[in-house]
Symmetry: C2
Subunit: 545 residues, 2 copies
């Protein structure tokens, strides 16, 4: 009786075909490093993807080969998103902000045959070139950014490559289980670990990105991924936007503050996505200068937790909803999305905000559970805190060619996220901490995330981090690092921070006055998260006095 | 390199599991035949599905077996939607409005082992019982409707069956390609043909039902399927609602007019779905009496084309959007959805209406093309008319156990729909006619659908049908059948119909005055569509004078 429905594989070329057929006129906008903008349509995209496929074939790329990118967000990167998997090859998006050591490791581990690199970041690769024996060619994409100090030797120009390729490409048959994309986690310990996405996982994840209770992408949106395309496929936006024919606005190279505000206004962007820092900085700028962002209804925030202030500020001052989501490289990344349940529709605003500040409800396709210290299931009462484990069609079942790094994958098919969380009766997941970021004082836990959120409630605080400082008596105590806004109207004193915390935390949880540090900036990882590993190392050293 | 994403099959039990975990408190409401309402939650649903699975196992149901329903829309039918496929068995939803001859054929063709039947319709089966050798038991569900004339002999009561079953069921492992559902088309020629849905097709179709540009179901909706659950799985709503945790309101037995209005108001329904007739009748009632339908934002219309009047009336008088969709039993059914493209956002209202009156853009997962008379691809210019062919993961590749009826399935993997259509440059599909409903006058085509829409523009017309009448000179000519509203403010004369048509049609296309017939009612098929086969037969006979 089987097989009476068509065997239509969930593969990436279908996503582009739909856009080119039903939305050929829709726009793809890219902002270059010099501030100029490039415009093309989905019809153009299809044509260029065909040429790129032929060019890649000409360079000898075979199904299964890895083709890497070191690139910002722009249309050429989008072309690679489709051309490489459409050949059955694997698109490896490299986070070029990683250390040289890490870059060398992942490029060699992935055995990338080609690297497509933005001109402005090619200098990084030039320095590494001799250590990358598998790489045959570097194809340079002119992003009109700053001149690099040097270029790798064996380079080609992207546009010349395309110009020399023929117009119509043959699409090989693909099975949906075939590998399509590769992304390495920016591990804070040990070597980076690769996550290999399949055509099926990418397609289903893109569908989730278009579901009302998922990413809610639609043809009517003008979408701007401020999250880099080397960061878990820009959270899948390029695929869900193309799938549904949305207008795409690519901000190019790490655009923040004023140029971001200008781009959002000029292209009448309706939804955007990125880590909290981007939106904190943008908010400061928006308070200084007036822009027409009336079309912008939603900012999707992930990567780290959005603060209450961020949500309140955008809602109050600009009528923009900050939508909280959670995910990881290992989860493609969409895991949860914090949309307001109908049951909370008529609740007081404070109750609504409380729910929206949680990471949200797992989207369709993602199962979740909470594991206790012995691996037992914990109840969903909003109180019990355990390790969040997830399961689903776009969640990794192992790391790429790395059988040693398998501890996170349970024998019964779950992925242990390393995130500590509670789940309440309405199904909202609330992350309390990375497992390794919890502070354990005399055997009792202190949540660094809760304390950071509390400190960020001070109007004079721009950013804050809370980490464990080793202590002979208590094992660990909380240490707070604060970056102030330098706003004369809102000075910040250590005592104010302590007062603020004492309203929300037990006495034994509070940091000592000398553990409140004012710093000029916080160290960040390659993906823009606060690097707590560095902070912990700093604090572990005895003060130099 | 394969298999690095989890192998998580797209199967129906996952849909229910999600609802029970994240939306246990959400409501499922059923209206019984006596007007009372039954309420339960998704947590209750899960419990009852477990019991039902155990009960079915107790009756000897094995994977692959067919289990049938003859039932209206209510929670017990929903329980069967989950319990039967969760066992690996196949849920066969029977349209009990078919003729006895057709019912006998499909039940025997499907070899149903059990039939779950609403008490109010059990009389139909009692009359057929001796002709159904494969059926072992009839399980009667008390829907508080009218007493049946007789019951089949070997009956059991549904609630007693559940009460006797144990609480927790084991879920067998399922592959997503396994059959899950079976539905027969109400063929207008030849025997009914069965379409077999898989777990995969049902799951993906439900996801499409939750996509913004698809069915847009979400947790926040209160959804009422007025389309029967025996009609292509109520267009997939029970699955997409459960998948996303929407509140479901089941109207029971063919509720129309006043009781439908009362139910929509009482349950604060936000979206509903059904054939145009239901909404035409409801509109008449809403004009007579005031209801608070302020929550109702969208009525999804399919099955046959919505008229301009229907769309305009609901929008103008109640601010309710009539959303046009197209599908067939063979397409699960969602094929196209007529949402307004961004490009039309600032267009004049008339232009927007023109687009929304088309059947719309194929949803994600559905590919389309237009075939000319020689099977060639026709251009998408809004002018060329050809047969619509579709392809996708929830479209049939053959009929169930019926290799003879394979003409609609092309060798290269497309399904020929039998619908004549154009596709415009924006990708909107517009059905012009069923292939067999076109009128061919002296070798030139006349669209019966266009002519019906024109006639329905007369304010005194309730319903209209246009069919071919055989003619010795012209081969075929158009004949118009009109049901008037009997509204003294809007009398209808044949000449007015002709005047109306002459504004939109060429002279040679117009019907003769004697081909305009006023009738009390139009014959309908088992699924509520106008039965043109019957009309053609009537008109083919020489007038009895």
């Amino acid at each position: 009786m089987n097989g009476l429905m068509m065997d239509w594989p969930l593969v990436i070329p279908q996503i582009l075909r739909r856009a080119a057929q039903f939305f050929p006129e829709k726009a793809i906008v890219s902002r270059w490093g010099d501030g100029t903008r490039h415009r093309m349509t989905y019809a153009d995209l299809e044509g260029r993807v065909h040429r790129l496929m032929n060019a890649l074939r000409g360079l000898g790329i075979q199904p299964g080969d890895r083709v890497a990118t070191c690139a910002w967000n722009h249309h050429r990167h989008l072309e690679l998103y489709f051309a490489v998997p459409s050949l059955g090859a694997v698109l490896h998006t490299i986070n070029f902000r990683l250390s040289h050591e890490q870059l060398r490791y992942i490029i060699n581990h992935a055995q990338d045959r080609l690297i497509f690199v933005d001109r402005s970041v090619a200098g990084t690769l030039a320095a590494l070139e001799t250590d990358l024996p598998a790489v045959e060619k570097f194809i340079v994409m002119d992003d009109r950014g700053p001149e690099p100090a040097a270029l790798p030797r064996s380079t080609m120009d992207y546009e010349e490559l395309l110009a020399g390729a023929s117009e119509r490409a043959e699409f090989p048959p693909l099975r949906e289980e075939m590998a399509a994309g590769l992304c390495y986690t920016s591990a804070t310990t040990g070597d980076p670990k690769g996550v290999l996405y399949s055509h099926r996982s990418t397609f289903l994840h893109a569908m989730a990105g278009c579901m009302v209770d998922g990413g809610a992408m639609s043809e009517r949106e003008v979408a701007l991924p401020a999250v880099p395309m080397f960061h878990v496929n820009a959270w899948g936006m390029p695929y869900s936007c193309t799938m549904t024919g949305a207008t795409q606005v690519f901000p190019g190279s790490g655009v923040i503050g004023q140029p971001l505000a200008e781009l959002l206004e000029a292209e009448r962007v309706t939804c955007a996505a990125g880590v909290p820092t981007i939106w904190t900085l943008l908010y400061q700028h928006l308070k200084e200068k007036r822009y027409d962002l009336s079309r912008l209804h939603t900012i999707l925030v992930g990567g780290s937790a959005a603060s209450r202030a961020l949500m309140e500020n955008y809602a109050r001052d600009f009528g923009i909803r900050v939508l909280h989501a959670w995910g990881m490289t290992e989860t493609s990344p969409i895991g949860t999305m914090s949309r307001l349940k109908r049951a909370l529709e008529d609740s007081p605003e404070e109750r609504q905000l409380e729910a929206r500040l949680k990471q949200g409800i797992p989207v369709v396709g993602v199962e979740a559970k909470l594991l206790g210290e012995q691996g037992e299931d914990l109840p969903w009462d909003g109180e019990h805190v355990g390790e969040l484990a997830v399961r689903g069609p776009w969640i990794a079942s192992s790391y790429y060619n790395n059988p040693q790094a398998g501890a996170a994958f349970t024998a019964d098919g779950w992925f242990r996220t390393g995130d500590m969380a509670s789940i309440d009766r309405l199904g909202y997941v609330k992350l309390t901490d990375r497992k390794k970021d919890l502070i354990k004082r005399k055997g009792e836990w202190i949540s660094s995330v809760d304390m950071e959120n509390a400190v960020q409630g001070h109007p004079g605080v721009l950013e804050a981090a809370v980490v464990a400082r080793p202590d002979e008596v208590c094992d660990e105590v909380a240490a707070v690092l604060v970056v102030t806004r330098d706003d004369p109207n809102h000075p910040v004193a250590a005592q104010e921070i302590l007062d603020l915390l004492s309203r929300k935390f037990a006495k034994w949880q509070l940091p000592l006055p000398e553990d409140i540090h004012f710093v000029a900036a916080l160290p960040k990882t390659g993906v823009g998260k606060i690097d707590k590993k560095v902070l912990r190392k700093m604090l572990a050293q005895p003060p130099a006095n």
